[in-house]
Symmetry: C2
Subunit: 205 residues, 2 copies
């Protein structure tokens, strides 16, 4: 199914929100409720859900269970994605702990570092391998996504190793601009950019 | 100046990228170069820069120094923003270190925690205060932005304290849905959503 990135992002958010209600049997929700909870318009919600083939009931809204099922069928893979953490410092540990506690199908199966005190230890419940074994382990453990939490000056070197290893997706926390082959899906997250956006809008008020 | 959030986000990204070239005198850059580096269209770049009143030279492109100056004038406040870190665990420490190392005008002036081993110590160069003093310290240090890096079950309680303290902006890393008064600017960052988006697009290939 072809969907725009922003739609996929919102579908994931709808699901995260709806998980809180999943234990209530026969629960329904209206598009305007979902919209209000996420600060978007009801039209946006209805458009997204129409794209994955769901229309609400005018009187009762959407069935929460049907929504959860269909979003799962749309955005989840048949097999859970295996993930590697590149650099298991403070940020790498925080991200690992966060994902392991979440109710998602994402699995962190390895971390990589150059620190001898970390290598071959379990950190946040995940085995740490030496960076020199990246290519071997990524293939062996069928890892498709790498999370980049190394220091900025290590970023480009690590990405070269990752693309040589056949990685398919990268979530980049380093704020370094990465030149990535077209067959790798890159998503950047830059904390400074988020804060500058907040700064601009609170100044404008 | 009224600008859409996505434009502000991109202006911040243009600046982060251009900083690498700022030491070259009289350097210029074309919209298509900027566009390629950020995986967007040249039209998008030109539209954003037109919104802040800048047009490029057909032959030479945009002056990098003029770009940096005008983006700064547009998105920076006259006074640097003071920032507080709510919860100085692994994620809070990583975020603090990251911002302090960045060449931005953002200043972290306090962190807050409930752990007696952290309170009244300097962590990543920032003083840690007890959460019970949040309201007092936020007013005293003129803090306008809070970064939420507490455990999920603490999020709602902390946000209540923050809004009572007159905070103007919140960057939320907890993935908890927050109900925020309209005069507070909220930006959510959810790691799971980013990873699910990557997972969807690498599956679709």
């Amino acid at each position: 199914m072809k969907l725009p990135p922003r739609t996929v992002e919102r579908l994931s958010k709808y699901r995260r929100l709806l998980m809180e209600y999943k234990h209530e049997e026969e629960a329904h929700i209206f598009s305007h409720n979902l919209a209000r909870l996420l600060n978007i318009t009801p039209e946006q919600v209805r458009r997204d859900l129409m794209l994955i083939g769901l229309t609400g009931n005018h009187r009762k809204g959407y069935s929460i269970q049907a929504l959860l099922d269909l979003i799962g069928k749309t955005i989840d893979s048949y097999d859970p994605q295996n993930i590697a953490i590149m650099g298991i410092g403070n940020l790498g540990r925080a991200v690992t702990a966060f994902i392991r506690k979440s109710e998602s199908r994402l699995r962190i199966v390895a971390s990589f570092d150059i620190d001898p005190l970390k290598i071959n230890h379990e950190i946040e419940g995940v085995h740490c391998y030496p960076v020199s074994e990246t290519e071997k382990i990524i293939k062996k453990l069928n890892i498709s996504i790498a999370i980049l939490t190394v220091p900025p000056d290590a970023a480009k070197g690590i990405v070269k190793i990752l693309t040589n290893s056949g990685i398919k997706g990268i979530l980049n926390f380093t704020s370094v601009h990465l030149d990535i082959p077209e067959n790798v899906y890159l998503k950047d997250y830059d904390i400074i950019t988020s804060l500058e956006e907040i700064g601009f809008f609170i100044k404008a008020r």
